[in-house]
């Protein structure tokens, strides 16, 4: 198994702070904007971005977690069902600008399910997508991210491994793994 480092801790911090500034560019003081992290792994990045934004803007910004498990299109097509996680959306998303945050954009199917799941909490005015890693050439649906940490050219057989300290790892490192 070959491992290649895509992002290390220092670069990750620079990337996250760039993403934050890009968000501020478009959403200014975040009056009508909320951040929603995708369960299970996007929530760590959402936390990180949320923390940075609150520090820069010196105001509180609504943060929620969304789980799209029950809206997936591969239910009964997998060997084992995906385990659901908690939905925590303690605000109304009706009429709000939503920034959806996930760690890796791959086939786009999770995002499709997330858009479906979100409707149960109201009709947002606008939805944007922020991802840390965009795996190019692997999309199965017409989904594109508005904010991207890093584009990576990958094969479908490869895997992107995100290790964050917030998830209990020793370091912040993002790897590309060849399965052979």
């Amino acid at each position: 198994m070959q491992k290649k480092l895509i992002l290390d801790s220092d670069l990750l911090n620079i990337t996250v702070s760039r993403l934050c500034h890009e968000l501020i560019e478009n959403h200014r003081d975040f009056t009508d904007t909320v951040i929603i992290g995708m369960q299970p792994r996007g929530i760590y990045l959402a936390d990180h971005i949320h923390r940075n934004l609150e520090k820069i803007l010196k105001r509180s910004i609504p943060l929620g977690y969304l789980d799209a498990t029950f809206h997936r299109d591969d239910f009964r097509r997998r060997e084992i069902p995906v385990k659901p996680n908690e939905n925590r959306i303690p605000f109304i998303i009706e009429g709000k600008n939503v920034v959806l945050v996930d760690d890796v954009l791959f086939t786009g199917r999770t995002i499709r399910a997330a858009l479906d799941a979100m409707i149960a909490f109201g009709r947002p005015a606008k939805v944007e997508l922020l991802v840390l890693i965009d795996r190019k050439y692997n999309r199965e649906l017409p989904v594109a991210a508005d904010y991207v940490g890093k584009y990576v050219n990958t094969l479908a057989s490869q895997r992107v491994l995100v290790e964050l300290q917030a998830q209990g790892h020793k370091h912040n490192k993002i790897w590309l793994i060849n399965k052979d």
Partner: protein, 308 residues
């Protein structure tokens, strides 16, 4: 990633503690879903479920039907009283005819103990036992244990008394299996004629004095006298039963401790439970009903998901 160890839910006896915990964790998510303004999710969109009830039911059937509809499954209902069973069709023929119409799951209630187990050996669809005679009623036990976990934080180490007609109760047997697997201590209490002779062999304490049972327990699960299953007289009169075994608010207040009162319904007010006790702050009877939908959604979701 998560999967039950069984293809069917026939009884609590066949499933593991891990299965029960997985069902509870999944039910937590569904409880959040059914408390949203938009309660429907598309998870079981391409699944067809037949509710086959050879015995009467309102609560269980409604609860299953709501759970199925919240999950977006297609639902067909069947009750024996209005069907060809009256014309002499066998159980297996009836079910095979329903399955020929491409049904994926069967929720079944039957008066004969073991009927769903028999079916499970002959058909491919997933079966959920919604009560088989005096044997098991697994989803009721799961929602009871889920409600105890919700109210008291956990089931492990808690003292639970099951009071009433144990002999004719499928709820009692499933409850004993479920709560023991989760680490609770169990006592059964009732007149000697309404307790199975060798129930002590299941590792439960046996008590005939209802006051002693109430003093001992953290949770009292009160069962109905199942007159429809009693072919002979097990006690002189309902009035006398109520005098010795009926639970009143005065008794509960006299205990001077926190106690949780549960009842699987339907309640015979004034017989096993007085009206003021059933409506008191001790009772979580309506929470049980709410949790029933979430727990049944979890069971259907986990069984349906594992078939692919």
């Amino acid at each position: 990633m998560s999967k039950l160890s069984q293809k069917h839910l026939l009884g609590i006896k066949d499933i593991t503690r891990e299965d029960i915990e997985l069902i509870f964790e999944t039910a937590d998510n569904f409880k959040e879903v059914i408390n949203r303004p938009i309660k429907k999710i598309p998870a079981l969109r391409d699944v067809t479920i037949a509710n086959i009830f050879f015995e009467n039911s309102t609560r269980t059937r409604l609860s299953f039907e709501l759970a199925e509809k919240r999950l977006s499954a297609d639902v067909v209902n069947f009750s024996a009283s209005t069907s060809s069973v009256k014309k002499g069709e066998t159980l297996l023929d009836t079910v095979n005819n329903i399955l020929a119409m491409k049904v994926d799951m069967v929720v079944m209630r039957h008066a004969s103990p073991g009927a769903p187990h028999y079916l499970s050996r002959h058909i491919k669809a997933n079966i959920v036992n919604a009560g088989d005679g005096t044997h098991e009623h697994p989803t009721q036990a799961l929602l009871d244990a889920f409600s105890i976990r919700e109210k008291l934080g956990s089931v492990s180490g808690k003292k639970i008394a099951i009071i009433g007609d144990i002999l004719h109760s499928r709820v009692a047997l499933s409850n004993i299996f479920a709560l023991q697997k989760l680490g609770a201590k169990i006592m059964v209490c009732g007149p000697p004629t309404l307790l199975p002779k060798f129930i002590g062999q299941l590792g439960v304490q046996v008590e005939h004095d209802v006051m002693k049972a109430l003093q001992w327990c953290d949770v009292a699960n009160v069962l109905r006298i199942q007159l429809e299953r009693q072919q002979i007289k097990y006690f002189p009169s309902l009035r006398e039963y109520s005098l010795y075994y009926g639970i009143t608010k005065k008794m509960l207040d006299g205990l001077k401790k926190e106690i949780v009162i549960m009842h699987p319904g339907p309640i015979n007010r004034g017989v096993e439970l007085s009206s003021d006790a059933a409506d008191s702050e001790h009772a979580i009877i309506l929470d049980q009903v709410e949790n029933g939908v979430a727990v049944r959604m979890a069971v259907l979701y986990l069984l349906a998901g594992a078939t692919a």
